[in-house]
Symmetry: C2
Subunit: 173 residues, 2 copies
Amino acid sequence: MSQSETIRDAILDAAEARARAAGYNGFSFRELAADVGIKSASVHYHFPTKSDLAHELMERYRTKALDFLGEPASADAALDRIVLLFRQAALESEMCLCGALGVSSAALPPLVQTSAARFSRTLVDWLKHAPDAGRDLPFPPEAIVALLEGALLLSVTARDPAFFERATLPLNP
Amino acid sequence: MSQSETIRDAILDAAEARARAAGYNGFSFRELAADVGIKSASVHYHFPTKSDLAHELMERYRTKALDFLGEPASADAALDRIVLLFRQAALESEMCLCGALGVSSAALPPLVQTSAARFSRTLVDWLKHAPDAGRDLPFPPEAIVALLEGALLLSVTARDPAFFERATLPLNP
DNA sequence: GTCTATAATTTGATAGAC
DNA sequence: GTCTATCAAATTATAGAC
């Protein structure tokens, strides 16, 4: 936790790391509290319920992704950028939060279900609205996002970042 | 549970359904026991620990997949077959067990980590050894499996089976 | 805002009777 | 093989003092 960070942000940072590694049922208020250096009752002060926390976590993750992606000048640039977004995760063997939560969508609180689904839709829409996307993208936006998410999932499953590169070769023409 | 099924198989059936919906931390011995109609102590008789159960579950899932895939006569036939394997899951909004467990690989018992990784490697190898795979497959085997797994993951996340079809269009030339 | 204390429930796992 | 009974630990969440 950096000096100028609020406690809320520090809690979300800890939650993001743990949720990406272990999913919705894989982190607890006590663990987050210990990570941040407070007690679990204080975490509940900032986020009354676990679904509140996960929902806000997912929305923050979506905003951060859009900030990173920016406004691409071309379809090629957009493709490069979104590949980089997933490659960075693969290099650290960290799953995408959307996949980490969405994989158990059926077992999630409704609010979290919705925000996980919104993340993937946001990525597809962002690709779809890149300049000349319809003409210059090598595949439909849905296929590109699915390939990236699947390549990351399997590289995490195999604990082998190199798998990501082999699986995404078709995106480098 | 069908008449000729052993209790072991019935337990594994219940575990498969719950693990695919909610992941490794998303099912309990008590829930499986209730599904099958016995007590949790009896489940422990058949599977001493949870990692024993999940490991055997993952291995059975892999064997069933290989049985379904069979021995394809051509690369085209292999591609059709593996697409069908994932499409069936997508139509029921059921995640692949490998993805459901592997997504939290870092939090899994070592034995389960290994068997989840083995499943995805098995699919890639199966595609790789299809007749004339190197010449006739439209993409590298890693890319095909990643695209299928990612398309399924996002269709489950979005609770929209149609997403799977849009994302896998590049596999239907 | 953070704490102590605790409630109510669930979890994986074991002992021992039958 | 299945059961009852139980344990020790962990879970989400709340009440109320400071």
